[in-house]
Symmetry: C2
Subunit: 218 residues, 2 copies
Amino acid sequence: MLSHTEENHLKAIFHLSKDQNEGVSTNSIAQNLKTKAPSVTDMLKKLCDKNLITYKKYQGALLTDDGRKTALNIIRKHRLWEVFLVEKLEFNWSEVHEVAEQLEHIKSKKLINELDRFLGYPTKDPHGDPIPNPAGFIKHTTKVLLSDLKKGEKGTFVGVKDSSSAFLKFLDKRKISLGSLIEILHIEDFDDSLHVSIGNTNLTISMKSANNIYLKKQ
Amino acid sequence: MLSHTEENHLKAIFHLSKDQNEGVSTNSIAQNLKTKAPSVTDMLKKLCDKNLITYKKYQGALLTDDGRKTALNIIRKHRLWEVFLVEKLEFNWSEVHEVAEQLEHIKSKKLINELDRFLGYPTKDPHGDPIPNPAGFIKHTTKVLLSDLKKGEKGTFVGVKDSSSAFLKFLDKRKISLGSLIEILHIEDFDDSLHVSIGNTNLTISMKSANNIYLKKQ
DNA sequence: AATTATTTTTAGATTAATCTAAAAATTTTG
DNA sequence: CAAAATTTTTAGATTAATCTAAAAATAATT
Ligand SMILES: [Mn+2]
Ligand SMILES: [Mn+2]
Ligand SMILES: [Mn+2]
Ligand SMILES: [Mn+2]
């Protein structure tokens, strides 16, 4: 039985893993979990002893198959609870993360499987992220950043890269929600800001924001 | 912010409080929480420092107003989650307690108030126990043990004293569920066992079981 | 390649929650 | 009411999670 802290480390390592070969650095984990490097080093040793990661001094951490499966199970719980909060408890998508961080550690196979059924087996969380199945299989869809589109191209808003509460509220204010059709009307030379149409309104989006909006290209 | 352990101690003290004057003993708390007396003594000192209980050496613990309100808030969460598990996630009433013991520690005012609304503001949990309101007010109903009834008397099954999984399954097996009308047909002299009618079937109930069944007298 | 900068680990301390064994206080009993 | 039994507390140790400061290793730069 893993502690909350152990589970949080596994999840952080999963989210920070880009490359299969390159270990996730101690500092990046510390930053992600708002803790300090020595605490992470201790935890990496422990997770290595439990065969959830491979870890050699100064070489960062890599999830084992077992560790990866464990991480995906926690992410599954996190995302299912987020769906529950939005669909059933009328939370805004900007409010769910903090509570899901707590709920993801509840231990009960039956609970999460029944929750999944109750929610109608959702495949995406409120931020557009895929929900792993009970076996830890995750379905990726091809998506592209709004900032990578050219003038005249369009796509459907399917997810956010930055899911901070601040950014989500920013999107709410501009009525940009998952499923919106976005088309690039013009790209400003001076500051790379984008003039886009969303539904039947036009607005300007900064490069920084465009860099956090995922689209499914059409 | 209280730890799980602190919250569990407050809840135990609440459940073990009979008398307003008599402090709850260290050993009874230890037994209730499956821990040892020295651990409890340490925790009592801490809770006293936080003004959640009054505690004088060798005199047991008494909840302060603040402590009582905190305990009732945890109990409110526990019981609302139990309702959720039974009503929405198809748990049996014998399966919910363990999971609710975890869920009751999730910290989010909004979560619990929205859950309450989602469930339709229930007043009782699946075992017939009352759900405190957000202010910590709890509504008691008069009820009597089946074992206290005399021949010919009857009542509605409204709660259990022993809510162990074993007893709840025992009741399931005999199709005795909350709301059943129970009438005492005969009391056996030899072993005090009860012949009762439940709905349209008759059966025999031991004194030990009758001592754990609450009825609303009719 | 040597120096400097950065990252990571080790060393050592702290706080919380737990335990066993022993001492102290209270309660029960003859 | 004194002795015995029970309960409670204290003393001291252990494990987990955390931190700061210092040492060691690695990476980047002249
Ligand atoms: Mn989240
Ligand atoms: Mn999410
Ligand atoms: Mn319960
Ligand atoms: Mn209950």
